[in-house]
Assembly symmetry: C2
Homo-oligomer: 354 residues x 2
Amino acid sequence: KNEYRIAVIPGDGIGKEVMPEGLRALEAAAKKHRVKLAFDHFDFASYDYYEKHGQMMPDDWKEAIGGHDAIFFGAVGWPEKIPDHISLWGSLIKFRREFDQYVNLRPVRLMPGVPSPLAGRKPGDIDFWVVRENTEGEYSSVGGRMFPDTDREFVTQQTVMTRTGVDRILKFAFDLAQSRPKRHLTSATKSNGISITMPYWDERVEAMAKRYPDVKLDKYHIDILTAHFVLHPDWFDVVVGSNLFGDILSDLGPACTGTIGIAPSGNINPEGNFPSVFEPVHGSAPDIAGQGIANPIGMIWSGAMMLEHLGEKTAADAIVKAIERTLAERTLRTRDLGGQADTTACGKAVAEML
Amino acid sequence: KNEYRIAVIPGDGIGKEVMPEGLRALEAAAKKHRVKLAFDHFDFASYDYYEKHGQMMPDDWKEAIGGHDAIFFGAVGWPEKIPDHISLWGSLIKFRREFDQYVNLRPVRLMPGVPSPLAGRKPGDIDFWVVRENTEGEYSSVGGRMFPDTDREFVTQQTVMTRTGVDRILKFAFDLAQSRPKRHLTSATKSNGISITMPYWDERVEAMAKRYPDVKLDKYHIDILTAHFVLHPDWFDVVVGSNLFGDILSDLGPACTGTIGIAPSGNINPEGNFPSVFEPVHGSAPDIAGQGIANPIGMIWSGAMMLEHLGEKTAADAIVKAIERTLAERTLRTRDLGGQADTTACGKAVAEML
Ligand SMILES: CC(C)[C@H](C(=O)O)[C@@H](O)C(=O)O
Ligand SMILES: CC(C)[C@H](C(=O)O)[C@@H](O)C(=O)O
């Protein structure tokens, strides 16, 4: 199969500005490498849609995009107009959970031309993956409030870890580690403080490790692990964490490589029972939206991850190469990276490299 | 009052090695500044005690140390011999909770002589406080496991936030911010993902902010906040977070200033109904224990925080000054900071500066 139907959802804010550049790169790579991509565009999962319809997505959103081979997604959220826990839980978190995208995968890689905030690190020094559980854990919907508006008021929210949920993300992470030259997996825990769920996580890690004797395993509590990201980013190869810990590490990691502006991510259902979602790590960034200055690299790189997921590795690699060559030229970089290009110019540069 | 009874608990691992240096500095500062300190030594809250007695602390631990003016604590934990969630929950977490030490306070300060892993940052550039809720939140004891040893197995653990618990830590943080020249408070949240407890945290932050119109308030989700610690550590003045978020930020912050090896902390009951505990941020570090190479600065600086808490600001400031002058000399620093001194030599150097 080399024909794919892609659902395109730009979302909010700069999502709308980087999406055309993501598509431009995809089209260029597809043409060159004889992949056929058909794009269907959707306006939901955005504040505009919410304003008109009172909900983030139509009732039949699952039918609308559930049959596509993948979903190419910009960014959602506009905190000044709608609380994040409504906009996100009404869209992105729904995709993840209802399409069972239990893997959130993000590369942490120091790229040429992107200055690291860490002293003395150069491209090649930092190159690892964060594998995040993406459907359960700390992002649960069980909990509530009691004694509202009194001094006794309290809220609770459960962290939920199932054996199914924990084992499948660990398996994915061990498999990924096993496929890499270093065969090194780091597990993020906090079993010394979070005394019920995190010891369980550790227990499942130990159990799974027995099946991967060739993978070097270590584990760190999340507090010291964030410290090691800054002090020793070269230690890591594949890092696996719960929903919340993975979320933190996959923003911190890209920050250590200079910017979260270029980081891509995949929300993946490895079995292919449902479409996976590919989106840049940066959000909708309302503060810079509409100025044409957003960095499109995160979106474009997400397109490469999508192609790789679809099995089109050659086309995917071509995009990553084009990104690297674009970033290496100061004039082609956007301003957040000390360059001069606007969103379109940077996107066009990548497409031309292709 | 200038006479204080201090309970001294070295604990495990390097806790035992840095404690004598902490006491040496305290004694020197006390002598110089006419403060009277009486030390009572306790061997519990350690693996040695556990091995003998089958529990981390005696049944009457509260009577033993509850009447002291403060507790000076080394470090506890020895994961190879006893799981952290047993050793810690049987000691440190008990102190925090049963002595109602609801504030965990940690400075993040780039010191002379300590190279920052961040490019281009120098002493003075990074100087803020992390205020962490220390008794509830994610560190709860509510939860459990169902369907053990089956495929349906799952565990849950509740995050619990009470109005009392949230409001009092916010009040402490706003008060601290108000007392500083920049009057700037940053709240760590994750209300876009943790959809029940974190929106509640935000709600209480907004309510409390009304009482501090002169404090500049901002809030960031924990993922991007960790990124900003690396990219813009100069943005922060006082940062407040839940138990877990504060834990993460107060390891990450010191890492950004070069090492967690020198960071101090206070577990504080601001009302003085119970003694507060002062301890270095680093743990018991079994891997380097017994070699005499541990950095004693975290312990010594914790002593300064203790003196300040007791109202002895002059003596406290003198210790911090002595630390700065010691760190500035390479030969007086321990090896983890590129120096040559062992634990004792470094500790003696600080005491001599006093
Ligand atoms: C040892 C552990 C339970 C503890 C915590 O998480 O509170 C430590 O990391 C700390 O920050 O004091
Ligand atoms: C927007 C938010 C709910 C989301 C998350 O926390 O998962 C984002 O931070 C991410 O990492 O995709």
